[in-house]
């Protein structure tokens, strides 16, 4: 399991998109190069969700959409005791789900 998360840069027009599309939403190009998602940004919105899916034994999860510097938006888990819309955060990688004891790594956000 990869411990990095990638966006995809269209080799024709340069648009970076996430998640993956087989065809570029802007120019319909079909070749991409992976770009590691890492860096700082701001919380666009967040929620504390108590209606959880399987694989979690916590009471709630704090999820957020973050707009990274440069404009790419990503969804992930927000590790912040005092969340606020607009607050600066940075990405980190951690275990975000563990189905049948097998860890899945993904994006988490911590205060910048």
């Amino acid at each position: 399991m990869s411990e990095k998360v990638y966006a995809f840069r269209c080799t024709a027009c340069g648009l970076v998109s996430y998640p993956k599309h087989a065809v570029c939403p802007k120019c319909r190009g079909e070749t991409f190069e992976p770009v590691e998602i890492a860096g700082e940004g701001a919380v666009l919105t967040y929620t504390d969700v108590y209606a959880l899916a399987i694989d979690y034994d916590t009471r709630y999860l704090r999820l957020a959409i973050v707009e990274l510097d440069g404009g790419l938006r990503v969804t992930g888990q927000l590790l912040d005791e005092s969340p606020k819309v607009g607050k600066r955060v940075r990405t980190t990688i951690g275990v975000v789900r563990e189905p049948a004891g097998k860890p899945i790594y993904g994006l988490q956000f911590v205060p910048a």
Binding site: P19, T45, Y46, D48, L63, I65
Partner: protein, 394 residues
Amino acid sequence: MRSVYVIGAGMTRFGRSEWPLVDLAAAASLAALHHANLGKVPVNAVVVANMGAGRINRQTAIASALVDRLSLWPAAAEAVENGPASGASAVKVGYQAIASGMADVVLVTGVEMMRAVDGLEATDFVASLSQPEAEYIYGVTLPSLAGLFARLYMDRYGVERKHLALVAIKNHDNAMKNPYAHIHQPITMEGILTSPEAVVNNPPVAEPLHMFDCCPVSDGAAAVVLASEEVAAKLGAARVAIAGIGQATDTHAVHERQDPTDLKAVRLASAAAFDKAGLKPSDIDVAELHDAFTILEIAESEAAGFFKVGQAHKAIERGETKLTGKLPINPSGGLKAKGHPVGATGVAQLVELTWQLRGEATGRQVAKAKAAYACNFGGFGNNVVATVLRKEER
């Protein structure tokens, strides 16, 4: 294209089913078939809307099973899976079959048995419609997408929790008048928001959304019988026409939308349905919206064109969407209180609207309803089917 009419509509009470899946589907189907009073006119095709039987009920190919249970051989049969928009999608398939001339009579039945599994599994089954590697792996569920959406929307347009509560109170009130509704429980502003007990009565589900902002987990089935103009005329059926259907998709991951508060697929699907029907939003007398979460009733009513963006909560404050208001929304109780058996929902919306247009919605009838609109919202707005029905005078 030939005109298509809804000549029969029926459903089971939503809630917890005592019957197995196919019997539940058969009960709604028979109610619609009896309502249509087909006599010797054969059913040419059966379309079943269902999202999760393969996973949660461990039964596949349920359209074939339903034809068999109803002894409708050799009618054509297929199931349509399009997430929570399966119901209106299945009606669209039936509509296309008749409009194209491939069939004269089609039975469309939506069914879901979500209470066959526990709450965690039911929530996860629905969550599996989210983007797998960019949403689902993080623990995203539908309530969480609604929570993320609600915070953005409420901040931008000044919508407060009291507005969400007004939607819930209205829909619970309407459901009290609907014997088919899952929830028969009147609620008050004090009970769910303003009293000290409200914190206990109405716990958070996905902040800023609380329990009374979310639909229940329901079993249920709903069915409509569609027919060509020739068959409808021969049977002397009430003239409820499918005047227009529109459908549109949007990005799978909500974060990828340029403006995540813009329900673009609702906007485009609705515009297409109105265009086909030759009607405007202001021509609509009654609407059923996909209020899986209260915030969605507000946002969809704007995206469909009934209110300007950012204005629906003010119309709700004025009571305009109540049964007695200018545009009654969710007279059935909506998903919030009628219940949301996912595959059945889109069909159930059209069942309610058919009854409304025929003047048969006893106890909650919207006076002189001639044109009706339904929004069936799939995914988290990434696949939406809008339908306009119109009563034609004979």
